[in-house]
């Protein structure tokens, strides 16, 4: 089989003031007709650089070596006009986030029809009709209506379908998919993947599927290439690479993928254990109550973040909360930490908390929160020392405040060198920053730590080590966790009980053992079904 896309010995350097930095090194891979090649790598591995190199959209500072060819044409030596002719026509691209890859000021149909007019020379009327047919083909229910809508009037899944329709519109020979489901919710992502499978089989296009998610790639791809620091470390059929990985990096990557059957914590505290925090019918509404609308008898337009959520966390228990984006998981976390006003009641260690006023020093000390993005949760203008000294100054013992080594001890507790105290956050890697955030949360010896998606911004291998650290700290201090995540596989590894949220409601609260086989809500069932089973990796 002759390859459609063929890359041989390709290298890419970026010129920086400090000299050249290598982005890609001796990359050799090929995709044949009807084949899906999965390109797997962590952030910074060069996978997106490769996608842009194929699309011939590189910054001025790029220096190249090697060859990228499409069928018989060498793209690295193509002229400007030739590039314009093949982009979109012979190579299509689907981006990660459909909300940023579509122009918000143009109707969806306009953006789709433009491609058809430009590349296939259709008249406007023909292009519009063809566009409607394309949208029907990607499974949108009302294509004619969707053509006239603006991006903000469509959901994430619908927008990604439009982007996919645009990519397939000119029947290209090759399509690059750059993490097309990462920005979507699990159930939507599953539907997009099914669509991808159908279209792929129907058109026989050569696909380069870029992802950081090993479990996902194992399902969609025929062959897989693992990229690490700009080098392809391993390449082969999916079954072979995942069953018998040759390279040490691939083995580490595979070992880090969370598996629900691999439990990291011991059995949870029994039902006899004291309840630490009780959330009783807590509702959160966003938006101000406009005082005029009350007078005028207008309807209340406030948005509901949580609707009468009730749950409890026992001492030393890990309670997982899962749900898609917008389900109210983080809203609940913010209500518990006093960042959102709420209605209802929270009882902490038996003490009723009716609102922000009741959150006194003891409550603030005992309940700590860790946020999703360490970049935004650590003040970029403060050194690590200052960041960690605040909780000590507020809640530490007098000895701790006097102790010069207290900061170092906090850092060592999260397995960071004490010398990091004098660094700024931007001098640390993502995983290290998240460890600092963990150290800050644990500095006041809290009883409950709320982890709000703390690993979703991290690479899978870093995630594994952060989770291991959390489990370790839990064993040492007996802290209870409220572990919020969208990753069901991950939470099944560490949680004792799991709460499932959907559009602001708590729909399910089950023991983790009951998830497989027990009586569970229909939505929970569909969530479990939508997650790519990591078991496939081993097969």
């Amino acid at each position: 089989m002759t390859p459609i896309l063929d890359i041989a010995g390709y290298g890419l350097d970026y010129a920086t003031p400090a000299g050249f930095t290598r982005a890609l090194d001796q990359v050799t891979l090929s995709v044949a007709r009807g084949e899906v090649l999965g390109l797997v790598g962590e952030s910074g591995s060069g996978k997106t650089s490769l996608a842009w190199a194929i699309m011939r959209h590189l910054p001025e500072s790029a220096r190249e070596a090697g060859r990228i060819s499409l069928v018989d044409k060498d793209l690295t030596s193509a002229s400007r006009a030739e590039i314009d002719a093949f982009r979109g026509r012979r190579i299509g691209m689907v981006f990660q986030d459909p909300s940023t890859s579509l122009n918000p000021t143009l109707p969806l149909g306009e953006q789709l029809a433009e491609v058809l007019e430009h590349h296939r020379g259709l008249t406007r009327r023909q292009a519009w009709a063809e566009g409607e047919a394309m949208l029907a083909r990607v499974g949108l229910k009302r294509p004619a209506q969707m053509m006239r809508r603006y991006p903000h009037e469509a959901s994430g899944g619908e927008k990604q379908r439009v982007v996919i329709a645009t990519a397939f519109a000119c029947q290209p020979e090759c399509i690059i998919f750059d993490e097309p489901t990462t920005a979507l919710d699990v159930i939507t992502a599953r539907q997009i993947l099914d669509l991808f499978g159908e279209l792929q089989a129907e058109t026989g296009v050569a696909s380069l599927y870029i992802s950081h998610d090993l479990a996902l790639v194992s399902r969609v791809a025929n062959r897989v290439a693992v990229i690490h620091r700009g080098r392809i470390v391993e390449q082969g059929r999916v079954q072979d690479v995942f069953a018998t990985p040759q390279d040490a990096y691939t083995r580490n990557l595979l070992a880090a993928v969370p598996r629900p059957d691999h439990r990291l914590v011991d059995v949870g505290p029994g039902t006899g254990t004291k309840t630490l925090v009780e959330v009783d019918k807590v509702s959160v509404r966003y938006g101000r109550k406009p005082f005029l609308s009350k007078l005028l008898g207008r309807e209340n337009t406030q948005f509901t973040g949580n609707r009468e959520v009730s749950l409890c966390v026992r001492e030393g228990e890990i309670l997982g909360i899962v749900g898609e984006s917008g389900s109210g998981k983080s809203t609940l976390a913010k209500a518990l930490t006093g960042l959102n006003p709420f209605e209802g009641e929270i009882r902490f260690a038996g003490r009723p908390i009716g609102g922000l006023k009741d959150m006194d020093r003891t409550y603030r000390r005992d309940v700590q929160i860790i946020f999703q993005h360490p970049d935004s949760s650590l003040n970029p203008r403060q050194r690590i020392r200052e960041i960690l000294s605040r909780p000590l100054a507020l809640y530490g013992t007098p000895e701790q405040r006097e102790d010069k080594n207290a900061i170092g001890a906090l850092l060592e507790q999260v397995r960071l060198p004490a010398a990091y105290a004098d660094r700024y956050p931007h001098q640390l890697s993502g995983g290290e920053k998240q460890r600092v955030a963990i150290a800050r949360a644990f500095a006041s010896r809290p009883k409950l730590v709320i982890c709000d998606e703390i690993t979703s911004a991290l690479d899978v291998s870093v995630q594994a080590s952060v989770i291991e650290l959390l489990v370790d700290l839990q064993k040492r201090f007996g802290t209870a966790y409220l572990f919020i995540t969208h990753d069901l596989n991950l939470v099944r590894q560490i949680a004792h009980r799991i709460a499932v949220m959907y559009r602001g409601d708590l729909v399910d609260l089950v023991d983790v053992a009951d998830l497989s086989g027990g009586a569970i809500h229909a939505y929970t069932r569909s969530l479990i079904d939508a997650v790519p089973a990591p078991a496939a990796i081993r097969a």
Partner: protein, 274 residues
């Protein structure tokens, strides 16, 4: 800091602005010592002289050396302008950050008040304040600071609103930090970059505003060698010696251009995307 300087020097406006501002600061510091004559010594026989080897920039209606007056006046003009801007910036930055931090109704109340003050042109506002407080350099300084505050508050608030949404501010609130600490230590350091840029540009405005006030007789009082006052006094003798009005006007323009260019350069240098 060194790196920032390097980045400023990379853009042509930045480099030129830095050189001009450097020259101005040099004159401010050593001006009175290098001035060839006493700025207030009268010489009735040497009146209205054009530039010559003896008087490089000529003399004024009392025979005073214009170069010496300019060199002495730099301190009054530039230093007062910088102080007025700094004062206005600090007040505006605090108001803007507090307003963004509090949000909701208090934000609304503070910002509408600021809007109301902004509706009055800054020169008119400064005139009003000086008239209320009385004529003097110090009052002119205060007037300019107050006139600058609402604008700075607006600029700061727009930046601070983005900072307010960052999780480190949320983390500080959840930790139970005081409002003062959050505004001063968590938020202000992160809004400083755009404020500094805005401030350098406003120094130029302050010089012109200050000169205008002196020109109208509400700022520095004779026989001070403040540049705006020099222009105002020279206006009457323009037909006798155009040099008298030209030099101080050029000096004001020089400062305005210098600080504006530096502001442009800083804006590019502090923006990591350029």
């Amino acid at each position: 800091m060194i790196e920032l300087l390097h980045r400023v020097l990379r853009s042509p406006q930045g480099a030129l602005g830095l050189v001009l501002v450097g020259l101005i600061l040099l004159v401010v510091i050593v001006g009175p010592w290098i001035a060839p004559y006493d700025p207030e010594s009268l010489a009735p026989l040497q009146r209205y002289k054009p530039p010559s080897a003896q008087f490089w920039l000529g003399t004024d209606q009392y025979g005073r050396d214009i170069l010496s007056r300019l060199l002495h006046g730099a301190r009054a003009t530039v230093v007062l302008a910088v102080f007025a801007t700094a004062l206005g910036t600090l007040a505006g930055a605090l108001i803007g950050t507090i307003s963004a931090f509090r949000g909701g109704r208090s934000d609304e109340a503070i910002m509408r008040t600021v809007d109301a003050v902004m509706a009055i042109p800054s020169l008119l506002l400064a005139l009003l304040i000086v008239n209320l407080l009385g004529k003097s350099s110090l009052n002119a300084l205060l007037a300019i600071a107050i006139a600058f505050t609402p604008g700075m508050a607006r600029v700061t608030r727009s930046v601070a609103l983005a900072v307010r949404k960052q999780d480190y501010v949320n983390a500080a609130i959840a930790r139970g930090e005081s409002a003062g600490f959050i505004v001063w230590r968590e938020m202000l350091p992160n809004v400083v970059a755009p404020i500094i840029v805005e401030m350098t540009i406003r120094v130029a405005f302050a010089v012109m505003l200050f000169a205008t006030l002196s020109f109208l007789g509400l700022g520095a009082q004779p026989p001070a060698s403040e540049w705006g006052l020099m222009v105002a006094e020279a206006r009457r003798f323009m037909h006798l010696s155009p040099w008298m009005i030209l030099w101080p006007s050029l000096a004001v323009a020089f400062v305005a251009i210098g600080f504006n260019l530096l502001g442009d350069g800083l804006r590019d240098a502090l923006n990591p995307r350029t």
